[in-house]
């Protein structure tokens, strides 16, 4: 019969395939073990310039974001966030308050979809001047951020001055405003 299935009739060499795959895995993780991963990359970037990047627009109505946007002479807040991140929704009113107090806020949306992000901004408000899309967290990791939300204070020359991990709480607003002020000098 032509349409009979016989899974045992595979060529002999295929039987070695699982072993080959497994050995690949072993080599990979052995290499990973030998070069222990740098998990404490948090604050090493402080005092250093932003890495060069140019991200496409992540949402409708806001331009994409690139390194040159941060070299215009005024300090910015750079908020790393995502529509799928629940704490980011909690943080939104705090960012709005910061914006009312005069902070310039740019965003990088991590692994996000345009439609989801538009919905997120429509619901939580949009305090951002520009929002860049970082689809594989490449920029996020390059600037030393390991999660969402995180917020960086960038001075007018594009130098990272401060990193805040986790959502900004209401009581931290004065502190963040002070950091922005410090970055002006």
């Amino acid at each position: 019969m032509s349409n009979e299935v016989n899974p045992a009739k595979a060529p002999r060499w295929t039987l070695w395939l699982p072993l080959a795959l497994f050995l690949g895995f072993v080599v990979l993780v052995a290499a990973g073990l030998m070069h222990p991963r740098d998990t404490d990359i948090d604050s090493q970037m402080i005092g250093k310039p932003l890495p060069a990047f140019s991200l496409r627009a992540a949402s409708d109505g806001r331009d994409g974001l690139s390194t040159s946007d941060f070299r215009q002479g005024k300090p910015h807040l750079l908020n790393i966030f995502a529509s799928w991140c629940v704490p980011c929704g909690v943080e939104a009113p705090v960012l709005a308050q910061l914006q009312r107090q005069g902070a310039i806020i740019d965003g990088i949306a991590i692994r996000d979809h345009k439609a989801d992000l538009n919905a997120f901004l429509a619901k939580n408000g949009n305090p951002y001047q520009k929002i860049g899309a970082d689809d594989v967290s490449a920029v996020q990791l390059a600037i030393g951020s390991s999660g969402v939300p995180e917020t960086f204070v960038i001075d007018g020359k594009g130098i990272i001055r401060y990193q805040h991990i986790g959502d900004i709480r209401y009581e931290e607003i004065p502190m963040m405003m002070q950091k922005l002020k410090d970055a002006e000098s």
């Binding site: 045992a8 699982p18 909690v90 308050q97």
Partner: protein, 652 residues
């Protein structure tokens, strides 16, 4: 004293595992026949001894013997008894001891009760089990001794991570471990069968209860873990594609595939090499998962278990165990005689299809989990999250669910699709009606819509195998399949509902303030301090009334532990028939102009999650289905055994 005794017993158990490996292997050679007689008793004693070693560690934790380093690091005299006991496995060394204990006990039970397989296969199986155990014994004794003393003994212990001080979590790890390690028996059976080339229905029947049992525990463990993350982490999410979650999902996927292919092998004597392969893969996934979690090679929320120095040891163990099994597979699988044939339209073929889909999802999850490691080797750091995992696994899950609906209706060996077409019109109709209904009802997310419309059709289709049968007389194993498949549909509906219907409100409320959330009217009645055995907390009294009905009270807390000092929020949930109200108390908000002035307003996070408990209800149903199947299989086996004994007696 007890610590030294425990260590000595552990050494004895390890030596017996060595003896079991040597005697078992020699009994397979021409002049080693006599040695075979000691293998089973040795396996049993080894199991008993390692269980005693584990019991002594539990005793040390119960007594809070602070001269033992592990106790001092992980326990505290003021901890409630249940968390003292749970503290035994809430750390690396203790959980590895639990791991070898389960392996030893499982090996002992197999040695004691399994009499159906040819003795040579059994010897090879028990030797294989001892081989794997020995590696873990060595790991314990040389790199993670749980009984190590600490001198001088400290006045007080460090306590247990507060996140782990929760009844759900006390039993979550042992449940998962029973699953992970239960699969080691399937692995050893696969080794035994490869060595002796005895792959057939008897092998499948011997293996099946172990696979089923391990799979039930894995299902329960994953379900419990997901629920724990849901209510404990306080963000209302139920699955995060965290490396540790993936580590438990991968063995489950492999075990699910194995479970189905073992049934084909038992019933039809087909899929021989494939079943053996899955037997090796399932336990390999348990070991790889444990390695990924413990070595610290991937960053994860379960960081309490990480120690990079141990990574090398576990990796060597993995390479030896899995590598040896795969070499054996490559050498022998070609000589395993061909199984029975079947056609493309048959129950076997649908099971093969689903096995392939499960394996693909397994591959997707493994790839996503390892991807950051791959790109890092090339110098690029990335992280992989839900936007990859969810759609990529759906690509394979959706065809699998469709075939899951059709497969059980097909006959073994060969069938015509035309025969079942008419019956399948009903689930198809239900799916279309649900899809149109939910789309018109405003469900926009394509994934949610897919889940919400597939689930009802799948639920109906899962019941179809019972059609035309006398329900009380339908075999228990059939009921098992039906219940498990319905469970998948129920869980799928919960997942879709969570994505589509969840409503949330985040607000800073003062006492007495009310808010509306979906059908709920919620009032913050008061905020009061409360105290527990090793924590203090601020507790909100939330009065919630559903659609104007009598109010219920929820008490979310913001809890501060004092050993170790840490603040966690304890959510409060209220479940009604059509969903769950989820409340979290945050901190008191502060005035924007002056951080020192409290405003008397409290952050509240409120969610109304329609039908979301169906996710875990579904998980429980799946496990219950497994249990029914297992009871039915074990009962059949016992019946067969008593028939055999009687016929033997008659001959004698």
């Amino acid at each position: 004293m007890l610590a030294e005794l425990g260590l000595a017993i552990l050494w004895m158990a390890a030596s017996l595992a060595g003896l079991q490996l040597i005697a078992g292997s020699f009994s397979l050679t021409k002049d080693g026949d006599g040695l075979g007689a000691i293998v089973r008793p040795v396996a049993i004693v080894q199991g008993v001894l390692v269980a005693l070693a584990f019991a002594s560690l539990i005793m040390l934790f119960v007594e809070t013997d602070l001269s033992v380093k592990l106790v001092a690091d992980n326990s505290h005299s003021a901890k409630p008894l249940i968390y003292k006991i749970a503290g035994t496995w809430g750390n690396h060394e203790g959980s590895m001891l639990l791991w070898v204990t389960v392996m030893g006990l499982a090996g002992g039970i197999v040695a004691a009760v399994e009499r159906r397989l040819p003795e040579r296969t059994m010897m090879a199986t028990l030797a294989g089990q001892a081989f794997v155990s020995l590696g873990f014994y060595a790991f314990l004794l040389f790199a993670s001794n749980p009984f190590q003393r600490l001198s001088p003994a400290p006045q007080e212990g460090n306590g247990l991570n507060p996140l782990l001080q929760d009844p759900g979590l006390a039993f979550h790890p042992p449940t998962l471990y029973l699953g992970y390690v239960g699969l080691s028996i399937a692995f050893s059976f696969a080794i035994g069968a490869l060595v002796t080339r005895e792959v057939g229905p008897a092998f499948a029947r011997a293996m099946r209860p172990w696979v089923l049992g391990a799979w039930i525990f894995l299902t329960l463990g994953i379900t419990a873990g997901s629920y724990w993350a849901y209510y404990m982490l306080g963000w209302g999410g139920w699955w995060f594609w965290d490396p540790v979650e993936n580590a438990s999902l991968m063995p489950w996927l492999a075990a699910t595939a194995l479970l189905h292919s073992v049934s084909v092998l038992a019933a039809r004597n087909a899929l021989r090499a494939w079943t053996v392969m899955l037997g090796v893969v399932a336990f390999s996934m348990s070991m790889i998962g444990t390695f990924l979690v413990r070595s610290g090679i991937l960053t994860s929320v379960h960081a309490f278990a990480v120690d990079p120095r141990r990574g090398g040891f576990i990796l060597a163990l993995l390479a030896i165990n899995i590598g040896a099994a795969l070499v054996l597979f490559a050498l022998r699988a070609g000589t395993v005689t061909e199984g029975e044939r079947f056609e493309v339209t048959s129950r076997e073929a649908s099971l093969v299809f689903n096995n392939v889909m499960l394996s693909c999802i397994l591959g997707i999850v493994l790839l996503g989990t390892l991807y950051p490691l791959v790109t890092e080797a090339m110098g690029v750091k990335v992280s992989v999250g839900p936007p990859y995992f969810t759609p990529m696994s759906a690509v394979f899950a959706v065809p699998m669910l469709v075939v899951l609906a059709i497969g059980p209706m097909l006959r073994w060996r060969h069938d015509r699709f035309a025969r079942v077409r008419a019956v399948l019109a009903m689930p198809l109709g239900v799916t279309i009606v649900a899809a149109v209904g939910f789309a018109l009802g405003g469900v926009r997310s394509p994934m949610a819509l897919l889940a919400l419309s597939l689930a009802p059709g799948l639920g109906v289709a899962s019941l179809l195998p019972l059609r035309g049968r006398h329900l009380a007389r339908a075999p228990l194993s059939l009921w098992g399949m039906v219940v498990a498949h319905v469970g998948i549909a129920v869980a799928l509906f919960g997942m879709g509902a969570d994505a589509a219907f969840t409503q949330q409100r985040l607000l800073a409320a003062s006492v007495g303030q009310s808010t509306q959330l979906g059908p709920w009217r919620i009032t913050l009645a008061s905020i009061e301090p409360v105290a527990g055995p090793n924590w203090t907390a601020l507790e909100a009294d939330l009065s919630a009334s559903y659609a104007g009905g009598a109010p219920v009270h929820l008490h979310p807390q913001s809890r501060t532990f004092w050993a170790p000092p840490q603040t966690t929020s304890v959510s409060a949930l209220h479940t009604v028939w059509n969903g769950q109200l989820y409340t979290v108390l945050g901190e008191e908000t502060h005035d924007a102009s002056s951080a020192a002035t409290p405003t008397g307003r409290w952050q509240l996070r409120l969610w109304w999650k329609p039908f979301v408990p169906m996710i875990w209800l579904g998980g429980i149903l799946v496990a219950l289905g497994g249990l029914l199947a297992m009871v039915s299989r074990v009962r059949q086996d016992l019946k067969r055994r008593s028939v055999r004994t009687r016929s033997r007696e008659r001959k004698a």
